[in-house]
Structures are given as C-alpha cells and as structure tokens.
C-alpha cells in the first residue's frame, strides 16, 4: 500500500467510524459483523495466504479470544480485556503452531483439525472458565470507563480495529519478516537456503495471526454478549477459510471482500426467503447457496474475487488505452 492509498484508507475508515453512529441498529449490526469477520479473515490470510500454513482451528481460536475477553471483562478490566484476549489468542495459536515446526502442508492442516476438536472439548468441560455448554454471559465492554452498550458504538470500534489491523499487516508484509513469510510459503527449502530461520518465521506468523484473531474473538464475545461452545465449532473455521478463498488468498482487500460476501450472503438469502414466504427452508437455502457458490468460485476463479475485480478492471481499461494510442 502506497502512502496515498494509506491516507485514503484512513480517511474512509474514519468517515465510516464516525458515520456508523448515524446508522440504524440493524445496519450497525451488519457493519460490525462484517468488520469483525474481516479482522479475523485478515489474520487467517496472513497465516494461510501469506505464510502457507493451512489452519482449521480459526473457530476455536476466536473462541479462546471470546472466553478470555469475557472473563477479563466480567472481572472489571477495561480495554485490557481486548489486549488480554489477543495475548491468549497468541499463546494458544503458538501452541497450535508447534507441530508446524515438524509437519508440512496437509499433515499440519490435519493437526489443526485436531486442535480445533480438542479446544471445542475444553470449552465444554473446563467449567470454571467457560461455564460449560450453557455458555459464558459477558457484560458489555468498558472503554476508558465508558460502558459501550449501543450497536453503533461497537460498529465504530470494530471499524477502527479493522483499520489498525489492516495498516499493521500491510506494513508487516513489507518488512524483512513479511518477506520471509512469502519465501516460506513458496518453498521452505529455498527459505532455508537464504538463511531464513523457517521455524522462527512460522512461529511469528502464528503469534501475530493468533493475537489478531484473539482480538476479533473478543469483539465477537462483547457484541454477542455470550460465548458458548457451539458458536466456535468447526463450521466457523470453514466460514473463515471460505472468506479468504472467495476473496483471494494472499490479498488484504480479498479478505475484506470475502468477509462482506460470507457475512452478507446469509442475510440476503434470509431476506429473500422471508419475502418469498419460505421461512422454513431459509436455513437450508442459505447453506445450499453457500456451498454451491464456494464450489463455483473455486472452479471459475480460484484466485478469488479480488483477482476477478482486477482482471475486470484491466479488461475495461485496456480498450481505452489502445483507442488512445490509435487516435494519438
């Protein structure tokens, strides 16, 4: 991202954050849902799209963030609750990443599947922290002494955190560490040959991504006011992988587009179902459309919506350039 773009992004985000106070409650709900999902998707894209480590434990990791933030928030901590959730996420993510020191590709993906299952089990059984199957009720977030209770408030907080995440990640990828991520993704052997410490690089990817996912989980906890094991099951991980694949692996903009797509699609189908008076079938229709769209996208544009947008843009701009040449 160049300097001009950075300024533009900051401006847009600030306008959105300020404008979100004027939104209706439902619109604010949609805005923070998309923003939180985008934060999580950015973090997952760092891990999968930029560092090449496929993880199925995203859902459980969001859960870790939500439970950590819930417990800290209920104990009366201020914004520290969000930071604490981030640290918890980073810690657990580092633990999940440990097998990645020895495993690659597919085997590591299966190991994260195991991590997801084990964490889900812990959510259900470690009752002093998680309150078991009934779930942990979370009191509203307090930010510098002010209790945030309105959906509009959460929308603007989510947008600001999304902005910070985006700026941080696009800065990170231009540092030496960020370049090392890309080399590890392309070939671990080459990375080793270049003198990159592969294990340490991977571990950083897990820690950074885990911190951001923990923060996103905290926001999920504070906005839904309840953390229960079912909300952080494997299907949530699948939703996030769908986001970054539909949007585009290794593209920050793609993460945002994917989050918008995956969050708003069910809402749109819900509206459509209510409008057509087939409310019973809505859930099935939603899932059906989700499944079929994932497949269609993967077949026709495996590089995601962001790439589709780019190729459309060049298709529309190229003729004018040629025209300009022939005229000139």
């Amino acid at each position: 991202m160049r300097g001009r773009d950075t300024v533009l992004v900051i401006l847009i985000a600030l306008v959105c954050a300020a404008g979100s106070f004027a939104l209706s409650r439902y619109m604010a709900f949609l805005v923070y849902s998309v923003a939180i999902a985008a934060i999580g998707a950015l973090a997952l894209n760092l891990l999968i799209g930029y560092c090449g480590q496929i993880s199925f434990a995203q859902g459980a990791l969001l859960g870790v963030g939500a439970y950590a933030a819930g417990n800290l928030g209920n104990a009366g901590f201020d914004f520290v609750a969000i930071l604490g959730a981030g640290l918890a996420g980073a810690l657990v993510s580092a633990l999940i990443g440990l097998p990645a020191m020895r495993l690659r590709g597919l085997y590591f993906a299966i190991a994260t599947l195991a991590a997801q299952a084990i964490l889900e089990y812990l959510f259900k059984t470690v009752e002093p922290i998680t309150k078991g199957i009934s779930g942990l009720t979370i009191s509203p977030l307090t930010l510098f002494g002010a209790r945030i209770v309105s959906d509009q408030g959460y929308a603007s907080i989510a947008i600001v955190i999304l902005l910070l995440t985006w700026l941080f990640l696009s800065w990170l990828i231009r540092t030496n560490l960020g370049r090392a991520f890309l080399v590890v993704r392309e070939s671990e052997l080459v990375a080793k040959g270049m003198g990159i410490n592969v294990a340490r690089t991977k571990m950083w990817a897990f820690v950074i991504s885990g911190f951001i996912v923990g923060v996103a989980g905290a926001l999920i906890g504070f906005t839904s006011r309840l953390a229960n094991p079912e909300a952080f099951a494997l299907h949530l991980s699948i939703d996030y992988i769908a986001m970054i694949i539909v949007g585009g692996l290794g593209s920050w903009l793609g993460s945002l587009i994917g989050a918008i797509f995956v969050v708003l699609l069910p809402e749109a189908i819900q509206r459509l179902g209510e409008w057509l008076h087939v409310a019973d079938l809505v859930f099935a229709m939603r899932e059906m459309a989700f499944g079929i769209l994932i497949i269609v996208f993967l077949i026709f544009e495996p590089r995601g919506l962001a790439a589709l947008g780019r190729s459309l843009a060049t298709r529309f701009t190229r003729p004018t350039k040629i025209q300009g040449k022939s005229v000139g």
């Binding site: 599947l113 699948i238 992988i241 099935a284 899932e287 989700f290 499944g291 993967l298």
Partner: protein, 304 residues
C-alpha cells in the same frame, strides 16, 4: 466379560470407521485430494437407503441401490468439481470438498428436516449370546459386513486387474498413461468406489445410532484414522480404524468412569464430558509428532 463386550463393540464401530477411511485413502492415493466430503457421502448414503426402504423396497435392494447412487454421485463430483480444479492450490481443493459437504448437508436438511429419524430395521431385532457376551444383531451385522467388505476391497485392490490398474494410476500416473491405462477413468472409478463404500458405511452407522444430519461427522473421525494408518496405506487405514474404534469403546466404558471416580474423590470436578470424542485427536497429535508417516506409511510421504 465386560472387557470382551467393549472389545467387540469397538471392533464393530471401528470397522465402519475403516470403511470410511479406506475411501479417503483411495481418493488421496489416486488423485492427491483430501476428501472432506466423505462424511457427506456416508450421510447421503444413509438417507437414500432410508428413502428407498420407505418406498417399499426390500432392505438388501435398498442398500445395494444406495451404493449405486453414491457411486454415481462420487463420479459426478470428480468430473464436475475436481477435474476443473486440477491446477488449483491444495487449500482450494480442500475447500471445494468442504463446499460439497455443506451443499449435501443442506440438501438433506431441505428434504428430510433437522430431526433424528428412526432408521428402518434392516437386520432382525434381538441379540445373540456368545458365551456371556451379548451383542445385538445390528452390531454383529455392521461389524461383520464392514470388516468383510474392507477385506474384500483390499483383496480386489491387490489381486484383480482393475485393482492393478488402480495401483498403477496411483503410483505413477505418467507411467500408467504410457502403458495404456486410462488414468482419468481410473480416478473416476476410485471416486465412485470410495463414495459407494462410504454410503454403505453411513447406512450401517445409521442402523446403530439412528439417522440424522450428524452422520457427516464420521468424515472427520476418519482423519485420525488415516493419519494413524499412514495416509497412503489402505491396509493401514483398516487396522487403524479398528484400533480407534476399540480405543473409543474402552475410553467410554473404562477410562472415563475411572477418571471421573478419581476426580470426584479428590477434586470438585464432576464430569470430564465426552472424552471418547477427543481421544482420537489427542492420539492424532501424538502420532504426528512422533511418527508423522503413520504406522504403515512409508517415510517421506508426509512431505507434500
């Protein structure tokens, strides 16, 4: 006695796991795709059997017909979804199979609803008494049938000419092409066969646990099985399936009560929950760290 009771129940469910896992391994060997939709095939297979018996077909016909339907479904997935994605990255292909899983689940939800359905009785009711061990016919039939089928499939893969062509295509697709094997047809056949096996596995599982959308979870339980057995070894998947079934039965019947007794005596923790659901995964992590190629896998296969 209780010990042998648990052992036999574990072998019965374990051989169903083996049936599902063999399908995943077969697909992986042949096309390099990790199929997350295997659980969906099992679920659809069970629902199709249910629908056919409801239409009045005898049980045997219904089961065979549902295997046929599933074989067609497997081939259709391979041709329509996986073939256009030959050059896509691994994670995209995995995601596509997850898309199939989501789609299949939604279809079943739309047609049959979210509630658990009583599965028609395919096997006679009652139980047999083998020297003090009581087993319902359901368990006996599920165990014997799936174990036999696994063994028959392994024999087919090892000793028939089609099995030889399958192995050739899986081992080195270029060489297979050079000696005149139609590799892409072989891949389709592999998908068809594993979907049919999964369909049968799903039907058998439904006779034990009832019919619901939750059946697709078997596809995930199969992953510890295939890692344990070695991702590329069919025999390994069979052995690991039975091993894991037995382990689950023992965890449920012996280990969990023992741990809970201990905890209740010394702490105020009351329950450890469904421990048998995480034991396979804990074992999986351990296995990956100690011996990533699995019990029967060859060294180097974990490097993909």
């Amino acid at each position: 006695m209780f010990f042998i009771q648990l052992l036999s129940a574990g072998i019965a469910t374990g051989s169903i796991y083996a049936l599902i896992a063999i399908g995943i391994v077969l697909i992986y060997k042949c096309s390099g795709v990790v199929n997350f939709a295997q659980g969906a095939y099992a679920m659809v297979g069970a629902y199709v059997t249910y629908a056919l018996t409801k239409l009045g077909f005898p049980a045997l016909v219904a089961v065979l017909a549902s295997m046929m339907v599933l074989a067609a479904l497997g081939i259709a997935t391979e041709r329509l979804v996986l073939r256009p994605m030959l050059r896509a990255p691994v994670v995209a292909v995995m995601m596509a199979t997850l898309g199939i899983l989501i789609f299949a689940k939604a279809i079943c939800l739309a047609i049959w609803g979210p509630d658990q359905i009583a599965f028609p009785k395919i096997f006679p009711e009652g139980s047999i008494n083998l020297g003090g061990i009581f087993m319902t016919y359901n368990y006996v039939a599920a165990g014997v049938l799936s174990a036999t089928l696994c063994a028959a499939f392994l024999a087919f893969y090892q000793f028939t000419s089609l099995g030889l062509m399958q192995r050739c295509a899986a081992d080195n697709s270029r060489a297979a092409l050079a000696i005149g094997i139609h590799v892409s047809n072989q891949v389709s056949i592999a998908w068809g066969m594993s979907a049919a096996l999964a369909g049968l596995g799903g039907t058998l599982l439904a006779t034990l646990n009832g019919l619901s959308l939750g059946l697709e979870a078997i596809g995930l339980v199969a992953f510890p099985v295939i890692v344990l057995g070695g991702l590329t070894s069919l025999g390994g998947a069979f052995v690991a399936g039975i091993l894991l079934g037995v382990l689950e039965a023992f965890t449920d019947g012996l280990l969990t009560p023992a741990i809970e007794d201990f905890l209740r005596a010394y702490t105020n923790v009351y329950s450890v929950g469904a421990l048998q659901q995480v034991v396979p995964y804990a074992l999986l992590v351990l296995m990956l760290l100690v011996r990533p190629q699995g019990i029967f896998g060859r060294r180097g296969t974990e490097r993909i």
